[in-house]
Point group: C2
Chain length 169, copies 2
Amino acid sequence: MEQTSQLTQQEKEKYMAEAIAEAKIAESKGEVPIGAVIVYKGEVIARGHNIRETTKDATTHAELLAIQDACKKVDNWRLEECQLFVTLEPCPMCSGAIILGRLSEVYFGAMDPKAGTCGSLMNLLADDRFNHQPYLESGILEAECGELLTHFFKELRARNKKRKADGVE
Amino acid sequence: MEQTSQLTQQEKEKYMAEAIAEAKIAESKGEVPIGAVIVYKGEVIARGHNIRETTKDATTHAELLAIQDACKKVDNWRLEECQLFVTLEPCPMCSGAIILGRLSEVYFGAMDPKAGTCGSLMNLLADDRFNHQPYLESGILEAECGELLTHFFKELRARNKKRKADGVE
C-alpha cells in the first residue's frame, strides 16, 4: 500500500466537493445521496451517483458507475493512476471493484457503520491477501457528506410518517 | 440464512451446466472461462460470462453481469427469489452484489483460493453484520468448473512461452 497521498488537503476537498455535487444529483432524483468521482492526472474523468431506485439495478452504486465510466474513459480495466473520491465508505461490492480496477488512491467522507468495508466492519482494501491495496484515507469533508445522508433519511421518515397519518399506507 | 436448498442435486447440476456453457463462451472469446446464470421459478432468466478483456471494464465479471441482467428481467433490484449458479467462487465485488441484490441461494463450482470470499479467504455471504445472508453451497460440478480454468491457464502459459521463444516479446 502507498503510505502517502499524492494530493494536498485543498485538492482532496476540491475533488470531494465534486463527489458531493454528484450526491446532490442523486438526492434530486429521490435517491439516497451518495456520489463519487474519479480523478486522473488532476482531472475529473468519471462521475457516478447512486441510482438504484431509478434503474431498479442493485449494482448501480456511485462508485461502481464511476469505475465503469473511468474504464471507458481510459480504455483500460486497469485504473492504476486513478484516485476515487466517494462521499460514503464503500460497501463490499464497491470495495471489490476498487481492488479489481487497481485504483491507486481512495478517499471517502463519512463512515458507514452498517455496511462499510474500508474500516468499519472490516478493511478489504488493506487485506494483503488480495493482489492490490490502494492508499486509503477517510474523513474528507466528513460532516458535509454525513449531513446529506442524515437529512435525506430524516425527510424520508417524516414523509412516511405523514403518509401513514394520512392513511395512504 | 436459509439452511436447506430448494433444489434437487439433478437440478443443481443442470443449472451449473448452463453456467459452464457461459464459461465456454468466455473461453471462445479468449477470456478467462467463468460463467454464471440466474434461475427464477425454475427458469434461467439471466446469464453472464467474464468479458473483462473485451470490454476493458474491471467490473464485467460473470456474476455481476448476470445480476444486472436479472434485475432488468424482473424489473426490480431485489432478486429475493433468485438462485445464482457460477462456475468459480465469487470475489468481493460479486459477493457484495449478491448481498445487495438479496439473492436467495448461491451455488458455485470451484473454489478460488486467491480471491474467493465465499469460504476461501473469508465468507462475506455468511457474515450476519450485513443485512442479507443467502443459502450457500459449493462444489457443484466442481471438477468440470475447475478443469476449464486449469486448461485455459495451461494453454495461456504455453502460448506465452512460445511467443518468448519466437522473440515476439
